[in-house]
Assembly symmetry: C2
Homo-oligomer: 424 residues x 2
């Protein structure tokens, strides 16, 4: 624990002390229907960073998440500010206000304890990544995610807000800089250099990892994206919108864990989601068996990628058109009141956003294969050689998208590329 | 005066109360050699925003600048935060630390009074714009400004700083949002719409002003630049680096008035300087007479534009190479340690910066002809028709650069375009 934590009122909870904490905290007790005797507590944090408890009484439930002053999956050798919990709670509240259908409510936040109490997203919700590995189709996923991304990104951008409101929020989230730096390191830097944190399917992918570290074309592109990620305060992004941050049933989609939230390019969120769907696509051959060749499922993933972007675009432009005479200061109605002009402006904006999304999305694909944090989509393929084959194709695809992203004019062209990357 | 100003300790000074203030302020008295009897005070604020006093004793001198809570040239109908003085003092100190040869020292800053005491830039220094109108050559101008821009922009960017330091400063300067919004309005919005603040050489330029307001191609470009100006925190820019913010002698170049400073694209400063030199170029035909056809002077201006960019590029890359193994987080040495790769990265960076500079520079040209604040370069041409001819060519040139900026690969190509815009 960092020096001074105790003085600041912080203490890491365990299951016993958590129960005492809940009993002393009216907002948490209320979420349990006031029935705080005989609570069931289960630690379920399978992520990389935090401790997460599901607490149930016979009259209610709550999730309690506590940030510790280091990265859980690495240990206290990698310190990490507990203030990430503050930004997570802030982003959950802000995104929840904008898109309540897809964000859990925050019941309680204790800044000194870096502790968030929020709605328990009940079974049969599972982590989307696990559903994708199991081959489950989610017919509403594209529509829900398009809705979530369109609302959270549009309403926190200059298309909707005044510069004054925008800069105020930008300044506030600048303080989440440690999380920004963590992303810089693990997404934009480590995979392209020798780093003790990198790992890959060795020795099968040794040459591929080395090729990434020696590819000047990739390094040129990733450098531009890195600066854009840090410098460009376009909207309040989730900051870690992969398929492990989304919980689903066939009817419901819930986005969790926005502790990396800050003002950054919109394409980082869109790319994280689409890139992780592409990873899931390439993992399918590793999950195919005699009972299920996964061919239909691969088509469903591709259709979901296509629909996610196209519906996002449709909803985002719908919001833009609806609010074009509002307070947004990017495109003033007195200048852009000509429908033909506005349509050209929007087309250019969306094409730029597609290119950004493809750049960030492919960067996320690459880092999941040769960087520190891998994905269960591939890790759950037991045969190392089969796994390597899937990973190689995903890596090749990611590299091609990163280098060629400005050539794409539609998501259909991206999907054609994904389909063209065949087993060698 | 805004409500509450007096409670906050603010009172606008006049010459008499200024003397009393100086006598009570040791840092200011010291700049006058402690000789505070019989001070000579002269109000010289010829800018658009503030009151500026030159104070001299028989043993020293000082400039005292006070911001009032409105825009001086418009009056109290256009309120403007006095906090701009805080950001001006901050930027003078920061840029002065980085480039002391070209920035006046701040002796004293009083936040409550919105008052800065700084070095008096003595005669024979004059405002560069006046020198350009008079046809005076400044052989060191390009080198000095290249030096100023390279140092102030490089050392406040991610090429030199850690993300942590960068975001901290970005957050701080986000509060200068009112000045950012003023720029948005007068540079990126008003010239492209009907606005009571716009003015132009009427009726001669009526059709030209209308053409700007109806040019969809311009509006598409200006919209992108506006969002980039607000969103992209690339470096601590001066924010108003036109030829009226620079004082010169043949040996000395001093940059003043950075009250619009915030973290924004570097190209905004570079473009402001280059764009105002191009305006000066197009004004020369209006200043030509039988004694001096200004042809040689026009060539000197073009050479100065060329050298300013080329020397800036050389010095900026020199700083980058010198500090490439330092703390800057944009391009880590472990990734970009290959000279060939670094050279490709730098070439792409500088080409992007040229395009940004041309975009912002041409936007500044256009707004000086059809927006609220004009330039003395043109206004001092007495013959309205001759003035209109000069303005039209500058406007045509600005429009061509704004629309075609991504085609230019060198400053020489830009100069060829400037020379090709002939009188019609």
């Amino acid at each position: 624990m960092a020096a001074g934590d105790e003085e600041q009122g912080f203490r890491p909870l365990d299951e016993a002390s958590l129960v005492a904490y809940i009993r002393a905290t009216p907002a948490l007790a209320a979420s349990l229907g006031g029935r705080v005797d005989g609570l069931a507590v289960k630690e379920v944090g399978d992520g990389n960073l935090n401790f997460v408890y599901i607490v149930t009484s016979d009259a209610g439930s709550v999730v309690v998440k506590q940030a510790l002053p280091y990265i859980r999956c690495v240990g206290d050798s990698w310190p990490m500010t507990r203030e990430r919990a503050y930004f997570e709670a802030s982003a959950l509240r802000e995104h929840g206000r904008l898109c309540p259908d897809h964000v859990p409510e925050v019941y309680h936040f204790d800044r000194a304890m870096s502790l968030i109490g929020m709605r328990y997203i009940r079974p049969p919700h599972i982590i989307l990544r696990k559903g994708l590995i199991a081959g489950v189709q989610y017919p509403l996923l594209a529509d829900h995610m398009a809705n979530y991304m369109a609302k959270t990104l549009f309403f926190t951008s200059l298309l909707y807000n005044s510069t004054t409101d925008h800069k105020k929020q930008v300044a506030r989230y600048c303080e989440n800089v440690e999380m920004c730096r963590l992303t810089e390191q693990v997404v934009f830097s480590d995979p392209y250099m020798v780093s003790k944190y990198n790992r890959w399917n060795s020795p099968l992918l040794d040459k591929d990892a080395e090729a990434v570290r020696e590819d000047d074309g990739l390094k040129l592109e990733i450098g531009e994206l890195k600066s854009m990620f840090i410098e460009r305060a376009q909207a309040l992004i989730h900051g870690d919108l992969h398929t492990g941050s989304i919980m689903v049933t066939p009817d419901s989609t819930q986005v969790i864990d926005p502790e990396f939230a800050f003002y950054a390019p919109m394409g980082y969120d869109i790319g994280a989601f689409l890139g992780n769907l592409i990873l899931a696509y390439f993992a399918q051959d590793g999950h195919a068996d005699e009972a299920n060749d996964r061919k239909a499922y691969k088509q469903w993933i591709l259709k979901t990628i296509e629909e996610s972007w196209n519906l996002f675009q449709q909803k985002f432009l719908g919001l833009w058109n609806k609010h074009k005479d509002g307070n947004g200061e990017a495109y003033l109605p007195a200048i852009y009141n000509n429908p033909e002009l506005l349509s050209v402006v929007q087309k250019k904006y969306m094409t730029g956003l597609l290119h950004d999304s493809l750049g960030f999305g492919s960067a996320k694909m690459i880092r999941r294969i040769v960087g520190i944090a891998h994905v269960e989509d591939f890790d759950s393929i037991e045969d190392a050689s089969k796994r390597a084959s899937c990973e190689c194709r995903a890596l090749d695809c990611g590299k091609a998208i990163l280098k060629g992203r400005r050539q794409f004019e539609s998501i259909e062209q991206v999907i054609a590329l994904v389909q063209s990357v065949t087993q060698d």
